[in-house]
């Protein structure tokens, strides 16, 4: 089963509005990442938040992490048509001593920005 589950599965908003997507997971993690996937650019890393962090910003993106609730949220402010894509959260647990970590993806939120 997927470690992460995004909510909602689909979201449509008007351009300029803010979009919020949530992710819940089941086990302890080292960090959580958000990725975006669209047909033009494939799967792209957006932002990473470590387990000891509670909030992180990158441009128009704001991510929060609540390890007690095993949940994260991704906020996109002032949405643009180009933000239309599927957004996935991915949780990270160590699988080796080499420092590279396995990603377990959720099923994604399909975001549509209406011009």
């Amino acid at each position: 089963s997927q470690q992460g589950e995004e909510d909602p599965q689909a979201l449509s908003i008007q351009e300029g509005e803010n979009a919020t997507m949530n992710c819940s997971y089941k086990t302890s993690i080292n960090n959580l990442q958000w990725y975006r996937q669209n047909s033009g650019r494939g799967l792209v890393h957006l932002i990473l938040i470590r387990s000891n962090e509670r909030e992180k910003h990158s441009g128009r993106l704001r991510v929060t992490l609540d390890t007690s609730k095993k949940s994260s949220s991704l906020l996109i402010t002032a949405s643009r048509a180009a933000d239309t894509a599927s957004y996935f959260c991915a949780t990270v647990r160590p699988i080796s001593n080499f420092g590279n970590e396995k990603l377990t993806f959720g099923t994604g939120t399909r975001l549509t920005i209406i011009p």
């Binding site: 890393h45 990473l48 996935f88 080796s96 420092g99 590279n100 377990t104």
Partner: protein, 114 residues
């Protein structure tokens, strides 16, 4: 510099045939990952390489699936006796200890088994 590349971009095969999918990671990236994405679904982890060894093969769905990596670079995912349920997009990603946590994904190979 070049990103992760995969070939072929599309593959159509008949049920029962074997297929090989190739991944060229970013030069210098020591870790390489294979994922599978079925239509409208998230990514399913298949296998992970650190150098040429595969510490984690837990995601391979059956013994028809195998993968190897040679020279710490190119990787090949082989599916034997393909079944219709193998139809999916197969994605490869690589990462380095420098980037540590960020995985860089290739464009994927879309496999269709008729």
């Amino acid at each position: 510099g070049a990103g992760v590349s995969q070939s072929p971009s599309n593959k159509v095969t008949e049920k029962g045939k074997d297929v090989e999918l190739r991944c060229d990671p970013i030069s210098g990236h020591t870790a390489l990952y294979w994922y599978r994405q079925s239509l409208g679904q998230g990514l399913e982890f298949l296998i992970y390489f650190q150098g040429n060894s595969a510490p984690d093969k837990s995601g391979l769905p059956s013994d028809r699936f195998s993968a190897e990596r040679t020279g710490g670079s190119v990787s090949t995912l082989t599916i034997q006796r393909t079944q219709q349920e193998d139809s999916a997009v197969y994605l490869c990603a690589s990462s380095s200890r420098a980037t540590y946590n960020e995985q860089f994904f290739g464009p994927g190979t879309r496999l269709t088994v008729l």
